[in-house]
Symmetry: C2
């Protein structure tokens, strides 16, 4: 098991070949989108994206346990005024590889990139595609239910005026601070819409997605000591989530610089002692 808890530098298509089959419980990743990250991934062109991704998906299928889950965060670009079809093409091709397309979660990004264009509005959502090897995959729904404790009551009583107005817009999906929804209820089940801001202007390392995103999926699809893989790990946000929840991680990135950043973040990351209320509040930054 010497592949566990490492950040490995290299092209994931090659690195994955070193991993044993049926060894991973959850793959959570956000690969470089088409035409993005040109300096590291060479800016894969939309028309070539499916061919670029499929061999990697084949390896991911091999290393995933039969009970495991693959969550893929992706969004198609606009090309010549149209939504490009590479994402839905990819879904169809991955099904031919043997993947089951079990679900599509929706990430509603509250603070999406600004911009005004003559014929479209700001794009403020992304897909979180769920794939599985078998219909009977592991899912701990109870792990993402929201228990109402004393801290919540205190939190409710102490909400500042600005917090109240700002939080009024937040939606109950297990995220954010919509504490008012919890009053009078013991537990809340989330739905398949995830309402979360992209992280910006934090002092830490930038990440394509907020830490809460992998935290939620790690809790939902794995148990303690399971193995979480991110083949495009970037600054290691997925690995941080795994460590905090006492899961093992495997991170791969083609960029040495990103791997260094990730390796620097992880030793500072402590497992949480309890299933924490921090998920529902901004965490202290250190």
């Amino acid at each position: 098991m010497d592949f566990l808890d490492k950040i490995i530098s290299g092209d994931c298509e090659q690195v994955l070949k070193e991993l044993p089959s049926n060894s991973i419980d959850l793959i959570f990743t956000s690969p470089p989108y088409a035409d993005q990250r040109k300096n590291t991934y060479g800016g894969v062109k939309p028309d070539e994206y499916v061919d670029w991704f499929l061999p990697k998906a084949a390896e991911l299928l091999r290393v995933l346990k039969p009970s495991g889950t693959f969550v893929l965060n992706i969004k198609e670009r606009v090309v010549n005024g149209e939504r490009h079809t590479y994402v839905i093409d990819l879904i169809l091709q991955m099904r031919k590889q043997g993947w089951l397309w079990t679900e599509e979660f929706m990430w509603h990004k509250k603070n999406s990139y600004p911009g005004k264009w003559p014929n479209r509005f700001r794009d403020s959502w992304e897909r979180l595609l769920q794939f599985n090897k078998h219909r009977a995959f592991k899912m701990n729904q109870d792990a993402v239910m929201v228990p109402v404790g004393d801290w919540a009551k205190d939190r409710l009583a102490n909400l500042s005026e600005t917090d109240k107005t700002r939080d009024e817009s937040r939606v109950a999906s297990g995220f954010g601070k919509n504490v008012s929804n919890w009053v009078g209820r013991d537990q809340v089940y989330p739905n398949n819409v995830i309402h979360m801001a992209t992280e910006c202007s934090n002092r830490n390392h930038s990440a394509a997605f907020p830490l809460d995103l992998p935290l939620w999926f790690v809790k939902l699809f794995t148990d303690v000591d399971d193995v979480v893989l991110d083949p495009f790990c970037g600054s290691g946000t997925t690995a941080v989530a795994a460590v905090q929840l006492k899961r093992h991680y495997v991170g791969i990135d083609i960029s040495d610089e990103y791997c260094q950043i990730a390796r620097g973040r992880l030793p500072q990351t402590q497992p949480r002692l309890l299933e924490p209320p921090e998920v529902y509040e901004p965490r202290p930054t250190e």
Copy 2:
């Protein structure tokens, strides 16, 4: 122009053939989803859905003006534990017909049906696929501007018509010092996530979507006196939206019973005298 402002009973594939080419400004519809409405549409099987829909899409392409827009509200069913692919197959096939897939709005249904399943959460979003004939389609972005800040959008979006006007003053006065924040920045453009409840305020007629949904798209993609078509009009919610905004409508439904209901609703529907409370007045400056 004797096809205007009518609810026509019949299979839209046949009825559409009677309509002149390039005569419709907006098509807004929510066709029966696969396996739904068995008694009227015969419960189209998921595997047959694309073949069932494509000839209708071809006619829709013909009747739509070059500047027009087609908004298709649809969501794929779960079949054998997987999301079925008929919706994304349909996108690919419609592109082959000549449609441009310009955008995918997401409708976040705030109050989706409750339910609990072993391996999925509640499905609380649907696709609103936008198709066009040409890149240069008509779009009145200013018609759907929203107040700055999600808090205001969500607060005001849920209010009844009468409450909306009443609340104008309440908002202006109730937030005291905060108001100065918004001076000079009253309205912004929305994004492509539509946050609306499924609930229909009209108790007499059930509808697949709330009236606010076609209202929003009619304002966005048509001008006064333009023509709005719904080839699966059901109880006529799209037509009601058109009348309220002084657009012409054409409604088609295969069910005589639904057509009767729609015809009964429309005479009671009054055009709004003003561009209504959805257009928020600038807040007072102090």
